[in-house]
């Protein structure tokens, strides 16, 4: 058991959940937007992920075995997977481009790229889509993806093979 003095020492440090959010929100929004293929849905995913993290911390479900950043990325990835599965059950009418934010000049190209990604990968099952993006857009290794998605490295490789095969077949259909 930890003694009270050492616990108090931990608490007297200069950081807080506010700075955890401050330090991680940019990379998490980018990750979620790529997974969702859409900035506003990516923001929703990150917001929900922080809520889950907050509740988990409060209930003592984070035991400190993983780094806080890895833990948050895992929550974001799982939340995005859930959102993608829900989207497949209720498909959006069309791949709409979001309203332009006048404070974000220069974001147009990034949003177009997201829309292109979303359109291109929309036929893939969510787990294959997420695995492919984590591997080739986020640049993660198979071990890191397996940790985030809580599956084996073999499952990661299998999803990548299937995703590539599906995309090749999709391209073939478009060429016909």
């Amino acid at each position: 058991m930890e003694d009270k003095d050492s616990a108090r020492l931990e608490l007297s440090g200069p950081a807080a959940f506010a700075s955890l959010v401050e330090a991680t929100q940019l990379s998490l929004v980018r990750l979620a937007a790529r997974l969702m293929g859409n900035l506003s849905e990516g923001e929703d995913v990150v917001q929900e992920a922080y809520m889950k993290a907050f509740r988990a911390l409060e209930q003592g479900h984070f035991e400190g075995r993983a780094h806080a950043q890895t833990w948050l990325r895992r929550i974001v990835t799982n939340t995005a997977l859930d959102a993608l599965r829900a989207r497949r059950r209720r498909p959006r009418p069309s791949a709409e481009l979001e309203d332009e934010d006048p404070t974000q000049e220069g974001q147009a190209q990034a949003r177009l790229a997201l829309a292109e990604l979303d359109h291109w990968l929309h036929t893939l099952p969510p787990d294959q889509r997420v695995t492919l993006i984590l591997k080739h857009v986020e640049g993660l290794r198979a071990t890191e993806i397996a940790e985030l998605m809580q599956c084996s490295e073999g499952a990661v490789e299998q999803r990548l093979v299937r995703a590539r095969a599906a995309l090749k077949a999709f391209r073939g259909e478009q060429d016909d």
Binding site: E2, K4, A7, R8, E10, L11, S12, G13, P14, A15, A16, F17, A18, S19, L20, V21, E22, A23, T24, Q25, L26, V29, R30, A33, R34, L39, S40, E43, V46, Q47, Y50, F54, R55, L57, E58, G60, F62, G64, H67, A68, Q69, D101, T103, Q104, G106, Q107, A110, A113, L114, E116, L117, L132, I133, H136, V137, E138, G139, R164, K168, R171
Partner: protein
């Protein structure tokens, strides 16, 4: 690697580059803080004591935007829990009073005994 696979990876690499500068919209932080504040108000935090919440609330006030991932990754679970609750309380108070954090408010909201 086949030509088709090279094309797939090339396209994903281009999308990675084009989305590298992507950042949240201007109102994202405000929406997030509002949600955290709401959660903080609903929270009961049964395992945290007054002195710990005071320490955590001082941490929040001192932290500002200077926290770094390197610092955060070293935290233990208890520190994160306390910091999360204190941050949510700070957000709630800043929203309702537009003032600096009032420790007595935080302490009153989170009465309880330390159980570690």
């Amino acid at each position: 690697m086949t030509k088709a696979e090279q094309e797939i990876e090339g396209k994903l690499e281009r999308i990675r580059r084009e989305t590298e500068g992507l950042h949240p919209r201007a109102d994202f932080s405000a929406r997030l803080q509002e949600s955290l504040a709401k959660l903080g108000k609903e929270s009961s935090a049964p395992s945290l004591g007054k002195r710990d919440m005071s320490a955590a609330s001082r941490s929040v006030r001192a932290a500002g935007a200077q926290g770094s991932l390197r610092q955060i990754e070293g935290w233990g679970r208890k520190a994160l829990v306390a910091a999360a609750l204190a941050a949510a309380a700070a957000f709630a108070l800043a929203q309702s009073q537009e003032s600096t954090l009032d420790e007595s408010w935080v302490v009153n909201e989170y009465e309880g005994e330390i159980d570690w």
